[in-house]
Amino acid sequence: MKILHLETQTGEPIQAGENTITLVSQSVRLQPPGFPGGLIWNRPVAVRVQTGSEPEKTLPVRDVTRLAQLLVVGLGLVGGLFTILAWKMTSKERK
C-alpha cells in the first residue's frame, strides 16, 4: 500500500468568450496505512487554453512567492557557507 499519492486533476472546461479554459491541479496525499489521518497538499499547476481552431496552449501557474522565498533562503545559506569557508581559509593563512 502506498503512503504517498501524487495525482493530477483536470477540471471541467470553462467557456470564456472564444476561449475554453481547463484548469489543472496537482495533489500530494500523505496517508500512512492504518493511520486515521493524513496530509494533503493541493496546488494549481497549469491552465490549458483552447482558442477557436488554434492548437491548445498550456500556461503554467508559477508560485512566485514560494520561488522568491526559496531563492532568498538559499542565498542566505550559500552566503553563510561562503563566510565560513572564507574564515577558515584566512585563519589557515594567518597560521
Binding site: L23, S27, G38, L59, A68, T83, I84
Partner: protein
C-alpha cells in the same frame, strides 16, 4: 467473568459509531484533493472572467480508545458473610484535530485580449524569509568575529 465487564467484541461494537464517524470525516477530507478546492468560483466582470487559484495544505488525524476494568470491593464491617461486590468500569474516548492552510498563488484572467496568469506575490512572506536569511548571516559573522565562539578550525 463479571456480567458488567465487556468482551472485546462488545467493545468493538461500542467503538463502531466513533470509528464510522471518523472514517466519514476522513473521506470528506480526502475529497478536498480536487480542482474545485484549488481554483475558486469564476467571477465574471463585464468581458473579463477572473478565476482565483490558491495552494491548500490540510492535515487531519483521529484517535479513539476504549478501556474497561473490574476489581473486587472489600466487604463492609458486619457483612463479611456476604459475597463481596465486584467493581467494574468502562470508558471510551476519542479525539481528533486538523488544520487547513490556504494561500493565494495566482489569478487567471480571461479577457477578449486573451488568457493570462497573473501571480500573487506575498511581499510579507518574502520579507520574513529575507530577514531570516540576513539574521542567519549576521549570526554567523558575529560568531566568527568572537574568538571564544569561533569555529574550532578557525581559532587562532
Amino acid at each position: 467473568m463479571d456480567e458488567q465487564s465487556m468482551t472485546p467484541e462488545e467493545e468493538n461494537e461500542d467503538l463502531a459509531p466513533a470509528v464510522g464517524m471518523a472514517q466519514d470525516t476522513m473521506d470528506k477530507f480526502l475529497d478536498t484533493a480536487s480542482v474545485d478546492a484549488v481554483f475558486g468560483i469564476p467571477v465574471q466582470h463585464e468581458d473579463t472572467l477572473i478565476i482565483p487559484a490558491a495552494e491548500i495544505l490540510s492535515g487531519m488525524a483521529f484517535g479513539v480508545g476504549f478501556g474497561s476494568g473490574t476489581g473486587p470491593v472489600e466487604a463492609k464491617e458486619g457483612e463479611e458473610n456476604q459475597t463481596p461486590a465486584m467493581g467494574s468500569g468502562s470508558g471510551g474516548g476519542g479525539g481528533g484535530g486538523g488544520r487547513v492552510l490556504a494561500r493565494p498563488v495566482a489569478v487567471v484572467i480571461a479577457s477578449p485580449q486573451g488568457v493570462r496568469v497573473e501571480p500573487v506575490v506575498d511581499v510579507t512572506k518574502i520579507a520574513l524569509a529575507a530577514l531570516t536569511a540576513v539574521g542567519f548571516m549576521i549570526g554567523m559573522t558575529v560568531r566568527m568575529l568572537n574568538p571564544k565562539r569561533a569555529f574550532p578550525n578557525g581559532e587562532e
